[in-house]
């Protein structure tokens, strides 16, 4: 009975949280708490995986929550899948925290909320009525907000927390309104009741948009993403991994649950909206990321990009389903879910790496790092794997999901609507562009941080992190590789999910010869990670042997040649800023109103010449600045009412009375 088991896990999390609060005053409870959470998460993950593989679904009602409806919980394959993701990430973060959490100044500000955060994410996925869902959803936001404020010393963290919690409650209100429509005036808040009378026409469209806004604001969909690059880096790294890798997936779950499960059959323009939002997020996200110098901020922006890719997949699924191309819809959905899994893995991995770097150097700024591959070789290896995976390069997992998405796009000319006909290839171009740019982004990240020469003493004498953290890094890197090599099994595991949502699933992959991946037919397209890996290995081996036989083995170490003018200064290296300059020239001037200003001091002046680059966040300028301006303006104008004389207040009362009397007098 996995459902009850997972609820027990949630309870255990909460109990741990309370225990952490109680004991936190006296001694440092870091190690025990993380051990316990890791254990619970692993158990929960196991339970979820068994539920997923045995396709069992169960429901349960507790006498809590909204009176009359109670707290309903349900576990079907969809929730099982996401529970597995959540708890795997949770386990990873907990174990990494064992090492990373040691050099934490105030564990009391992290541990309880960490447990609550894990519990809340599990609850969101488990809950089966609107109230329980939103309660867990807000609890999730609240816990992560507290974690963002864990290092509240820096003012920007406080600001980040504020923007985050504000956007979070905005999203919650959107979901609340959506559920209000779904539930109807009668207040049928349980998902069962909602499934029975699904809304149609305009109402359904409205619910769709509200759900998109609500879930999108949590997932970081452009233009609702502004909080994400502020909040995710502000939290401790293993929490950033949870927020970026896992919490955004919970948001995806919410969207899938509402739109694909609770809502009736989709309309084609829904897919259009999703594709537009996804494409925009993918491109904007990766471009923003390319211009950041803070490692964690780069990762946060790349989260936005990957969320965009996932939403492109979902958009395709919706459009295909609206036009009754079931096979294609299933393919697109599977691609999206696959990318959900992949991103949760490699984004957690990369945030763990950033945590390791942060722990070793106390430095998040790329411009002050460099040469870490010598100081922290294992971390570098894991990080390299993560970068390859997230750049969508074979034989890692990122490539598979993106390849599946492309395959889905290639099926789209069958769609009858002209909007989709013209939109989908454009989105395909955006997707290709953002994948290519992601490559550039992560070459930059890894190259600047780990390669070259140390740009600051902190990097020069960094030390490799502890064994526990390293083991987590390696395990996650291993996941990325294995899934990329034998994706068939994952796709088969996703089968029941698409079965439950779209009443069909992709052909069984593990039955294919050579374990190769054949989404539709071998004649159409196929990919075989295993053979590819073997062939690369073989080619490598051949080359190596040949070189051994034919070439001279003598190797000499010498100073870098550098065209004959080697320069000892480490600042002559290419910096993060200069690396992204060509791309900024190409894209930035349009999308970010990038302005370069170069000031060269007059001859004889010893000041260095300076080049400053200004990037403007167009989204902020267009969407958010006017809003805050309006609120400030109104607040200032209305504030006058605090300073009136009693006589004026009386005249207000007087006026109200007269107006009401006039209303009554003229009432008929």
């Amino acid at each position: 009975m996995p459902l009850a088991f997972l609820l027990w896990c949630v309870l255990a999390f909460l109990v741990t949280a309370v225990a952490a609060i109680v004991t936190g005053q006296r001694w440092n409870a870091t190690t025990p708490v993380y051990c316990i959470t890791a254990l619970i998460s692993l158990l929960g993950c196991a339970g979820a995986v068994t539920a997923l593989l045995t396709h069992q679904s169960a429901a349960l009602q507790l006498p809590l929550g909204l009176p009359g409806i109670g707290a309903n919980f349900r576990m079907d394959v969809l929730s099982a899948l996401f529970l597995a993701i959540v708890n795997l990430g949770g386990a990873g973060a907990s174990i990494f925290g064992l090492g990373y959490g040691r050099h934490e100044a105030f564990p009391g500000r992290i541990l309880p909320f960490f447990c609550v955060f894990l519990a809340a994410m599990n609850l969101v996925v488990l809950s089966d009525d609107a109230f329980t869902f939103l309660l867990s959803w807000e609890l999730m936001s609240l816990a992560s907000w507290a974690l963002v404020l864990a290092h509240h010393g820096e003012p920007e963290n406080v600001h980040a927390g504020f923007v985050y919690i504000l956007m979070a409650s905005f999203g919650t209100f959107a979901l609340l309104l959506a559920f209000g429509l779904l539930a109807g005036p009668g207040g049928q808040y349980s998902f069962e009741a909602i499934r029975l009378h699904q809304p149609m026409g305009m109402v359904a469209g409205l619910v769709f948009l509200l759900a998109l806004v609500g879930a999108g604001s949590k997932a970081g969909l452009v233009p609702l993403h502004v909080w994400l690059p502020l909040a995710h880096p502000a939290a401790p790294s293993h929490v950033s991994a949870l927020m970026s890798g896992i919490m955004t997936k919970v948001a995806i779950y919410a969207f899938i649950r509402i739109v694909l499960d609770l809502l009736g059959p989709p309309v084609w323009w829904w897919g259009m909206v999703l594709l537009a939002a996804g494409g925009a997020s993918a491109l904007m996200g990766v471009l923003y990321g390319l211009f950041q110098t803070d490692i964690k901020r780069v990762l946060a922006y790349s989260t936005i990009e990957n969320i965009g890719i996932i939403f492109i997949g979902l958009g395709l699924a919706l459009s295909f389903r609206a036009d009754h191309f079931e096979e294609a819809a299933i393919l697109a959905l599977t691609a999206a879910l696959f990318h959900v899994i992949n991103h949760s893995l490699f984004k957690s991995l990369l945030f763990f790496c950033s945590g390791a770097v942060l722990g070793a150097t106390h430095e998040r700024n790329l411009e002050r790092l460099g040469g870490l591959i010598h100081r922290m070789p294992v971390t570098a290896l894991a990080c390299l794997a993560g970068c390859l995976a997230i750049s969508g390069l074979p034989p890692f997992n990122g490539f598979v999901s993106e390849w599946l998405t492309f395959q889905a796009i290639l099926l789209s000319p069958e769609l009858p609507q002209w909007g989709l006909k013209l939109g989908v290839p454009a989105v395909g171009a955006l997707l290709a562009l953002s994948v290519a740019l992601a490559g550039a982004c992560f070459v930059r990240l890894f190259g600047i941080a780990f390669l070259g020469r140390a740009r600051a003493p902190v990097a020069a004498n960094a030390l490799e992190t502890d064994k526990i953290s390293l083991s987590v890094l390696l395990v996650f890197a291993g996941f990325c590789l294995v899934i990329g090599v034998v994706p068939g099994f994952v796709i088969d595991a996703l089968g029941p999910v698409s079965q439950s949502l779209f009443h069909g699933q992709m052909p069984i992959q593990s039955a294919q010869p050579w374990l190769s991946l054949v989404p539709i037919s071998a004649a159409r397209s196929s990919y075989n990670g295993l053979t590819l890996l073997l062939m690369i290995a073989v080619a490598l081996g051949l080359a190596f042997v040949a070189i051994r036989i034919a070439a001279s083995r003598s190797t000499r170490r010498a100073p870098a040649w550098d065209c004959g003018f080697p320069n000892a200064g480490t600042l002559t290296q290419y910096t993060a800023g200069s690396f992204s300059q060509p791309i900024r020239r190409v894209f930035g001037t349009v999308l970010f109103r990038a302005r370069e200003s170069i000031e060269v001091p007059p001859p004889g002046d010893s000041r260095p010449a300076r080049m400053t680059v200004r990037l403007q966040d167009v989204v902020w300028d267009v969407c958010y600045a006017p809003l805050s301006g309006a609120v400030t303006y109104l607040a200032d104008r209305l504030n006058v009412l605090q300073f009136l004389t009693i006589r004026r207040y009386l005249s207000l009362v007087f006026a109200t009375l007269v107006v009401l009397l006039l209303v009554v007098a003229t009432w008929q």
Binding site: L66, L142, G180, G187, T632, L638, L641, L650, T656
Partner: protein
């Protein structure tokens, strides 16, 4: 029979006796404990009303509606007395008050409680009016207790606006009687709730309409609805903190109770104007107005006073929408708001004592300097801002979702107001609770028990409402129509 009468008798008899006693008792420690004892006893008496319903007389009646208010009233009164016992001593030491003031304070506290209880149990609209005025005048002098310029000015403002409200309410009461008199004949009949409600259908609708306007404005002044709210922020900010807690937690509710009664009266008459739209409009105006006012507040108590206006707006909005769901939500919101807001004021009182200032700008990093106070403030603000797992989230969930299905635009306005208010409250809270601590670092000496008690209630209610209370609220919601 005698046992039945006791509960009611105690509620009415205890406070005046205690007041008389406290007026003569020397020494504030003793009187503080007497105060606590009296409040506790009246709370127990109120509980006893659940079990023995006293018979309805032409002056007093206990029904399902007002018993909710009475219990809530006496409960918060009790916790407030506990808080003030630990609070007021510090005021004495800091020289803000002298012993005579304290004696006066304690006596007035009981008189205030007496007034509110009387208003709640009264079965006679005239008697209720008298009682509410009594309570108001008691609070007026309490607000002026510190005798500082600001305190006097606040009390003066409160007094003038309140007495205009008094006048309106009285005029409305007279009009109701005038409407009833042709039907019920002359005499006491025409002012008795139980009679009025049964016969309201026959009254002259025109008179009822005018009457309701005056009553709504009159008692609405007490509720603090914009634009009648002017007294509320200053009265909260300048009076002693226990009084702010009582004002927000109780007096507003009592006035609201009166409005609800008359709304039921209007609802019972078919031709009379439906008060719903009026209440919805005023509620929305109060909500939006208060939400924007929150941004420029520099005084911590005034900040939460405005949030009281905001919540009263929400509650009146909910009752204006009507229907079982919205009424239920309104009752829940009212209860949760009294508990939460008084808890917040308890916290704020201790914070101001610790930091020696009410200026938000001078309060920083409370979670570092005074962890318990700081985190209580965080929890309180999160609760008042309507975040789970706390009670107000449930009521706001019901209000918004049920409204959106019925009147989408209203719900959007509601959500806008809630969001704006949320932003202001959370921003202020973050500034005070986090960051590097500033100001005096002295540990708080007041008792945390009332704070924890209230917050615990709110948390539990947010996750699990006892079925008994649910059934009770649902019944009352049906009564309200």
């Amino acid at each position: 029979m005698t046992g039945m009468a006791n509960g009611l008798g105690l509620i009415l008899a205890l406070p005046p006796v205690a007041a008389a006693l406290l007026a003569v008792l020397p020494g504030y420690r003793l009187s503080a404990s007497v105060n606590v004892l009296a409040s506790l006893l009246s709370f127990l008496a109120a509980i006893s009303l659940f079990f023995w319903h006293p018979p309805t007389s032409s002056y007093f009646a206990i029904d399902d509606l007002n018993i909710v208010f009475i219990v809530l009233n006496t409960l918060v009164g009790f916790t407030t007395s506990v808080f003030s016992a630990s609070y007021i001593g510090h005021e004495l030491e800091s020289g803000k008050l002298n012993v005579a003031n304290l004696r006066f304070y304690h006596a007035m506290f009981q008189i205030m409680m007496f007034g509110m209880n009387l208003a709640l149990v009264a079965n006679n609209i005239g008697l209720m009016w008298v009682a509410i005025e009594l309570a108001t005048l008691a609070t007026v002098v309490m607000v002026g207790l510190y005798r500082t310029h600001e305190a006097l000015e606040a009390a003066w403002k409160y007094f003038i606006l309140a007495s205009v409200g008094i006048a309106f309410a009285l005029f409305g009461t007279i009009l109701v009687y005038m409407a009833a008199q042709p039907v019920l004949g002359e005499g006491l009949q025409g002012m008795t709730w139980t009679v009025l409600e049964t016969r309201a259908s026959a009254f002259d609708p025109g008179l009822l309409n005018v009457a309701f306007i005056f009553l709504f404005l009159g008692y609405g002044t007490k509720v603090g609805l914009a634009p009648l709210h002017a007294w509320l922020p200053d009265a909260h900010a300048e009076g002693p903190t226990p009084i702010s807690a009582v004002l927000s937690g109780l007096l507003l509710n009592v006035a609201l109770y009166a409005i609800l009664r008359f709304k039921m009266l209007m609802a019972a008459n078919a031709e009379a104007i439906n008060p719903g739209p009026l209440m919805v409009t005023v509620g929305l105006v109060s909500l939006l107005f208060a939400a924007f006012m929150l941004y420029r507040r520099r005084d911590i108590k005034r900040l939460f006073a405005y949030s009281s206006i905001e919540h009263m707006g929400i509650i009146v909005f909910a009752f204006g929408m009507g229907g079982p769901l919205a009424n239920f939500a309104g009752l829940l919101q009212m209860t949760m708001h009294s508990l939460t807001k008084s808890a917040i004021f308890f916290t704020v009182g201790q914070i101001t004592q610790v930091k020696g200032t009410q200026k938000i700008a001078q309060i920083r990093g409370l979670t570092v300097s005074n962890p318990v106070l700081g985190w209580s403030l965080v929890v309180g603000v999160i609760a008042i801002a309507g975040m789970p797992p706390l009670g107000i989230f449930m009521s706001e969930f019901l209000i918004v979702s049920s409204t959106f299905a019925r009147a989408p635009l209203l719900a959007l306005a509601l959500v806008l107001g809630l969001l704006v208010a949320f932003g202001a409250l959370v921003w202020r809270m973050q500034c005070m609770a986090f960051g590097a601590p500033s100001g005096r670092m002295a540990p708080a000496r007041g008792s945390y028990i009332p704070i924890f008690l209230h917050l615990a209630c709110v948390v539990i209610a947010g996750i699990f409402l006892p079925p008994a209370i649910v059934a009770w609220f649902q019944h009352v919601a049906r009564m309200l129509g």
